[in-house]
Amino acid sequence: MSSNGYKPKVAVFKFASCDGCQLSLLDCEDELLAVAAAIEICYFPEATRKVVKGPYDIALVEGSVTTHHDAQRIQQVRRSAKTLITIGACATAGGVQALRNWQDSAEMVRTVYAKPDFISTLKMSTPIAEHVPVDFELRGCPVQKYHLIELITATLIGRKPNIPAYSVCMECKRNGNLCIAVAQGEPCLGPVTQAGCGALCPAFNRGCYGCFGPMESANAEALTGVMLRNGSTKDEIQRNFRTYNAWAWQFRQASEEVEKR
């Protein structure tokens, strides 16, 4: 709250997603009441019936754009918000539903729904930034809840958020994990994936599956070479890059390039 008693207005919008990233906000059990006291939650249907009209100081946007209706709705959301922050892999990279982008989406609709005529969906699942300017993208499937609080705090006081841009390998080394790729030859996307999860998967004896999406300067091509040398098939490597952040350009490119090798 500022000294004049003004509470910044925050709204949470959902597009195609699992709800998990906005749930992260409610998962801040120790901080929730303090956060709620510092801001005015104006629109957050998962948590409240209350609706306060915009404009908003911050719009948090979860989910990807997959319908005509949502492609229009995101324009309205952008107009209503001073700062628009996308949260999670769906909003920042198109999500797992972007796997349709390499397939015949009409055929997919026919597979899932008996009356495909009732379904109005776009051929592609796309990140919010392909539709409107975005002020900050918070990565992760799901996002890390403390990043969310840091980001809201930083935005409200007007400083740069302290969110790591380096790779999972940095976190993994700091945790003292044995490198699962070097020691066991496991396919691991840690070297090209943005930190933030705390390098969980290697600590659980499995390779990183890239749920935080590509780090800024990811050299995915080099990693493909390492994985091929360690015995992964091209198909495996492609599937590794094509999960929750498949449509993020670095992973997208790597998943397409591997076929040509």
Partner: protein, 439 residues
């Protein structure tokens, strides 16, 4: 943008549109139409965009379904992980270590505690107390809200210890876990669970004092039933009207039906109609298997089965919350790490089905794999799509009795009746037939 109502009292006409249902997971809308004082039209519309999971699962290696289907729902990812793992284990003939099985139950208890604490206190209780949300509720019920958040955190902590993080945990796999905890890692949960057991009891006593409208429809309850345990990961599918089948027969007995007025696909029992899954169904069909402490409290609160009032689902969830704390304590007390975290699996051609009890009810998965272990077809039936027709039926029966109330009250009561089911529309949508009009 959210709610509108038009009333013309002279004609006894009224329409209610709630364009975005609040305090549910995902995006749904409610349309109600009244003419000459009579209910004409009730529709729970789902406009959550389809995400086409069953389609893009084809061609993936079956074990990937454990992590991928978790992304259908951020609220109950473990339910998806468990149903997927069990279905593929059945397809490939994998047997799991009993200690792994116990650990999976513990994992699931964590999700139940988190999800039920969230729904009971943060999403549903505000309706009974006349609050817009839990934040407003905290102004008058701060100790209770703090207790609820601590309970929720406890559930999340169990999930975090076993699975690395609260949402989309990373430890579950076909055959077991990538890594299992040591006794030392589980030990710190014990004192908090002992507190949780008492808190859940206090919570149940609190919600028992809420006002419940008199409403007892003739439900067909459907839930898993296990001979010895309150159901989580396995059992036969049983109903209050005589169904008793192996999970493999699920699709023979339950049908997805296209209802003209709705455009949404509804699950029904073939030739009988709507049914209910979830806490109230589980409770009515498995009451005897609850711990004595929970049964005693249920009697004290006059809440023993048969219990058909859907508004009392909040009380049943509170009792299940208590069960989940007690069950978690039991599992931790008896725990010894399995010799291997997971059984090695051999990809092969197969077909397997499984159902487990998500916090919101029975979640069914079926997979067919080719000789290399790739998914050829997948089918997922989440609890909310099974309850959807029943939710509409509830409204058809409940609304005529409250049409004399002011329209804002009718609207709120109708929303509350939907929230009785803790609907998860994100879950339902990858499967529901969705009608998107040009609004």
């Amino acid at each position: 943008m959210s709610r509108e109502a038009t009333v013309s009292p002279a004609q006894g006409a009224m329409t209610i549109k709630v364009d975005c249902l609040a305090r549910v997971e995902g995006e749904g809308a409610l349309h109600v139409k009244v003419k000459s004082g009579k209910l004409q039209h009730v529709q729970v519309r789902i406009y959550e965009p389809p995400r086409l999971f069953e389609a893009f699962l084809r061609g993936r290696m079956a074990p990937e379904a454990v992590d991928i289907t978790a992304r259908i729902c951020g609220i109950c990812p473990i339910a998806y992980q468990m149903s997927a793992a069990h279905a593929i284990e059945r397809a490939w003939g994998v047997t799991i270590d009993p200690r792994v099985r116990a650990l999976r139950r513990l994992f699931y208890c964590g999700e139940w505690i988190e999800s039920h604490a969230l729904h009971v206190f943060c999403l549903h209780a505000p309706d009974f107390l006349g609050c817009q949300d839990v934040i407003e509720m905290a102004a008058t019920h701060k100790p209770e809200v703090e207790m609820a958040l601590r309970l929720k955190k406890l559930g999340n902590e169990i999930v975090r210890v076993l699975g690395g993080r609260e949402i989309h945990p990373i430890s579950a796999c076909v055959g077991g876990f990538h890594k299992v905890p040591s006794n030392e890692e589980l030990e710190p949960l014990v004192s908090e669970l002992e507190w949780g057991l008492q808190a859940a009891e206090a919570g149940a006593k609190l919600v028992a004092t809420f006002g419940f409208p008199e409403f007892n429809p003739d439900y067909e309850f459907v839930s898993l039933c296990h001979p010895e345990e309150y159901p989580l990961n396995e059992g036969r599918i049983v109903s209050s009207k005589g169904i008793d089948i192996d999970v493999g027969e699920f699709e023979d007995v339950f049908l997805e039906q296209h209802v003209k007025h709705s455009n949404a696909l509804h699950s029904v029992v073939r030739e009988r109609g709507s049914y209910q899954v979830g806490p109230v169904a589980r409770y009515n069909l498995n009451f005897e298997k609850l711990p004595d402490t929970v049964k005693m409290l249920a009697r004290e609160l006059h809440a023993e089965p048969p219990l058909a009032n859907p508004f009392k689902s909040i009380l049943v969830r509170s009792l299940e919350l208590m069960f989940a704390c007690e069950e978690a304590l039991r599992i931790i007390a008896e725990y010894a790490p399995p010799s291997e975290p997971h059984t090695e699996v051999e990809p092969k051609a197969g077909r397997g089905m499984a159902a487990t009890e998500a916090p919101r009810g029975t979640l069914y998965h079926r997979y067919e794999t080719d000789a290399g272990g790739r998914i050829e077809s997948a089918k997922i039936v989440p609890p909310t799509s099974q309850n959807l027709k029943r939710i509409e039926d509830d409204l058809w029966e409940f609304l005529p009795g409250i049409l004399h109330l002011p329209v804002d009250d009718i609207t709120w009561r109708a929303e509350q009746a939907i929230r009785n089911y803790d609907p998860c529309i994100s879950c339902a949508t990858h499967y529901l037939r969705v009608y998107l009009d040009s609004e």
